[in-house]
């Protein structure tokens, strides 16, 4: 009797152990649940957040139509953090409670930073892509990966292009007006690097608080200093607000912006200024050959008004999702978090259907797609074109 009891206990223990080893949060026989944290209710970045969701949605729909990940349907749960780091942590905790397996996006900037301890502790496979944040992958964290060039590299590439091609014999003098946060610091780093590398004359950097609407005083200072290359270091509406003032004072200016400069609302707001300005990117621009497949899929899976709302953020989210799904697929039926991280770090090349060059990470390098191209935008016509090839800086 005693022997029988022991055997029963042993059998129960073995089955419990086996269940524990096999069951991975967010993975069932029919579904894999991915999480997404974006600032859906932040007044400035809400539209970008929806663009990210569209990118994820297209990738998931395309993949699900092909049978999902080894027969498991992809489900994405979105959470809002309103661009507040405390909320990003809260949103991540909620998603973990709801059984999310891996993360496709974890907020932006400080939000990413705030979630790093939990992501690391729980070894949750994560793709940082909405807003590149180098400390997320440097030093390397086993389950966290990032695609995208830093703002520093993007802006540096633009300034290099402007100095080499757009000065028409004039002596370049550079200035920067940047947001007073971690994003703005990266912008200023590009400014300092350009001064050092190209020996540029410069005006003292100016800072502003997020959400500032009027840049009359800042632009006047730039004009007084004789600046002819301006890094407009805002995220969205600050860029046209600076350009509007510069146009009012009839400044002859080359303007460098971060990738948000390509967004349709920004281009429209830039239209009255008449400036042709620059932006940088690491994904193929919408309308280009590289984005053809994505746009076809978006037309197939999204509503008409959603297609109109697409932007380069949709492309980055699409690329990040595809990479994650491919790594999950490579794990076969036995899908675990450890396996995804291992596959991502294996050096294998992941395809993004032309949106970026094939992506690969390694054990000691969890960042990819760092090569950037320069995009020239004619605000009068709204047309944008890549004026360089992808280059590493």
């Amino acid at each position: 009797m005693k022997m029988l009891f022991r055997k029963a206990l042993l059998a129960a223990g073995v089955s419990l152990f086996a269940t524990g080893a096999m069951a991975e949060q967010g993975v069932t026989d029919t579904e894999v649940v991915f999480g997404n944290i974006v600032p859906l209710t932040h007044p400035v970045t809400a539209s970008l957040a929806y663009q990210v969701i569209y990118g994820n949605t297209v990738a998931a729909a395309e993949w699900n139509e092909k049978g999902g990940i080894n027969g498991r349907k992809i489900v994405i749960k979105d959470e809002d953090d309103a661009y507040v780091p405390a909320n990003t942590v809260q949103a991540l905790q909620k998603l973990i409670d709801e059984g999310v397996f891996a993360m496709l996006t974890t907020g932006a900037g400080a939000g990413v930073a705030a979630t790093l301890p939990i992501l690391e502790e729980q070894a949750i496979p994560t793709m940082v892509n909405f807003s590149p944040y180098e400390p997320a992958v440097n030093p390397v964290k086993p389950s966290i990966f990032m695609i995208g060039a830093s703002y520093e590299d993007l802006l540096f590439g633009e300034i290099k292009y402007i100095v080499e091609n757009k000065m028409d014999g004039k002596t370049p003098k550079i200035g920067v007006i940047r947001q007073d946060d971690d994003f703005g610091k990266q912008v200023e780093t590009a400014f300092s690097r350009a001064i050092k590398d190209f020996g540029l004359d410069y005006a003292d950097p100016l800072t502003f608080k997020r959400g500032q609407k009027d840049f009359g005083a800042e632009i006047l200072k730039m004009r007084a200093a004789g600046v002819n290359i301006l890094i407009a270091g805002g995220v969205t509406s600050e860029i046209p607000a600076m350009a509007k003032e510069a146009a009012k004072f009839k400044m002859d200016l080359q303007i460098a912006t971060v990738p948000t400069g390509q967004l349709t609302p920004i281009v429209k707001l830039m239209q009255p200024t008449g400036f042709t300005y620059f932006s940088g990117d690491y994904v193929s621009p919408l309308g280009s050959k590289g984005a053809e497949h994505f746009e076809a899929m978006a037309n197939k899976y999204l509503k008409e008004d959603e297609v109109k709302g697409l932007s380069r953020y949709s492309l980055t989210a699409y690329a990040a999702s595809l990479i994650m799904f491919q790594a999950a697929e490579a794990c076969g039926k036995d899908l675990t978090r450890a396996c995804i991280s291992e596959k991502l770090a294996s050096g294998e090349k992941f395809e993004t259907n032309g949106v970026t060059q094939p992506i690969s990470f390694s054990a000691d390098k969890h960042i990819a797609a760092t090569a950037t191209l320069v995009v020239e935008i004619d605000s009068k016509t709204g047309a944008s074109k890549a004026v360089t090839e992808l280059m590493d800086f």
Partner: protein, 348 residues
């Protein structure tokens, strides 16, 4: 039938509560809070931790604004000072968390003299604006003193082990915050039963009369500032363990407004009100989110996009309604209900 509350001795008069029913419900509440982690997931626990920390901060603000009548909008500054003190001492100076946490309160209290002394002659709106300016100074300092504060990059806290308990573990953090809240609650309730507490109330109700009765306004106002800031700083220190990554973005002006909303909605001058108010304001957006989710798809999609604005609108609306309909806040509603219940069927 109960007809009133007859107190016949001084010890009964100053006891925290002379009603065994109150003690019974308090023990029941504590028991419920102790078993909460056993039944909640990470999200609910995270929310509970936020409420506990907010309640500590609200009690601190209530001591200054509710009990002493000094309106302060500088709470986000003191929170930031406390949070960064703990974070930086642990991350950059390798202080043990056991010492770094109390230092958050001490530094915030020391800073309170900077704003308290120049503000001694100020009242009402003038004091509110002065304290608001102080919080701007603090956040700007944190942003620009990069060699000391890491500037916009924020501070990551790795060592979270306090007396052998790892606060990175949500259940441990929950119990630790609960313990701090109980200690702070008892501490403030005790202060309010002493000469100091009664002096605070006298200053709030009529400062000239208080001075005529021999209360040194300078001493007691500064004491209120220091005690309040110590508690708020401590709440900031707890935030450092809660997030384990701190950044100046966390300490916006909205936070100070929310803190004020907590004590107004809860009931100015009441410790229990501050706790209820903190829970209400933290849970409000969650309720709003859930309520929006219950609406028909078309409407909920539109409203979900404006959840942040709706939250702001609701907080404003709740403050207006509280001031208009029940100036004693939620604690006043609770007292009315109790009175109605105990005097029924003669209650009006």
């Amino acid at each position: 039938m109960r007809t009133g509350n007859h107190i016949e001795s001084y010890p009964r008069h100053i006891s925290l509560s002379d009603n065994p029913v109150v003690w019974f419900w308090l023990v029941a509440l504590m028991a419920a809070m102790i078993v909460l982690p056993a039944f909640s997931g990470l999200f609910v626990l995270g929310l509970a931790i936020r409420i506990l920390i907010a309640a500590v901060g609200a009690i601190g603000l209530n001591l200054l604004t509710g009990s002493t009548g000094q309106i302060s909008l500088g709470q986000s500054g003191f929170l930031a000072a406390g949070c960064y003190t703990t974070g930086l001492l642990i991350a950059d100076y390798n202080w043990p968390p056991e010492l770094a946490l109390p230092m958050s309160g001490i530094v915030a209290a020391a800073l309170s003299f900077l704003v308290g002394i120049p503000s001694l002659r100020l009242k009402g709106l003038y004091l509110a604006i002065t304290t608001l300016a102080f919080s701007f100074i603090i956040t700007q300092f944190l942003l620009f003193a990069e060699p000391i504060t890491h500037g916009p990059y924020g501070v990551r806290i790795e060592d979270t082990v306090l007396f052998g308990f790892d606060l990175a573990e949500p259940t441990t953090m929950y119990y630790f915050c609960l313990g701090i809240l109980v200690l702070v609650t008892l501490g403030v309730l005790n202060i309010m039963r002493t000469r100091v507490g009664r002096a605070f109330n006298a200053i709030r109700d009529q400062d000239i009369a208080a001075r005529a009765m021999g209360i040194n306004l300078t001493t007691y106002k500064l004491t209120a500032f220091a005690a309040s800031s110590f508690i708020v700083g401590l709440a900031g220190g707890l935030m450092a363990f809660q997030f384990r990554f701190i950044n100046v973005d966390i300490f916006s002006v909205t936070l100070a407004i929310e803190a004020l909303a907590m004590i107004i909605v809860g009931g100015l001058g009441s410790v229990a009100g501050a706790i209820i108010g903190a829970a209400f304001i933290i849970l409000l957006p969650e309720f709003v989110g859930d309520a929006i989710g219950l609406l028909p798809a078309g409407i909920s999609d539109v409203l979900a996009r404006g959840a942040l604005e709706i939250k702001g609108l609701l907080i404003g609306l709740v403050i207006i309604l509280t001031l208009r309909l029940e100036p004693d806040g939620l604690i006043g509603v609770w007292r009315n209900l109790k009175r109605y219940w105990s005097r029924w069927p003669l209650s009006v």
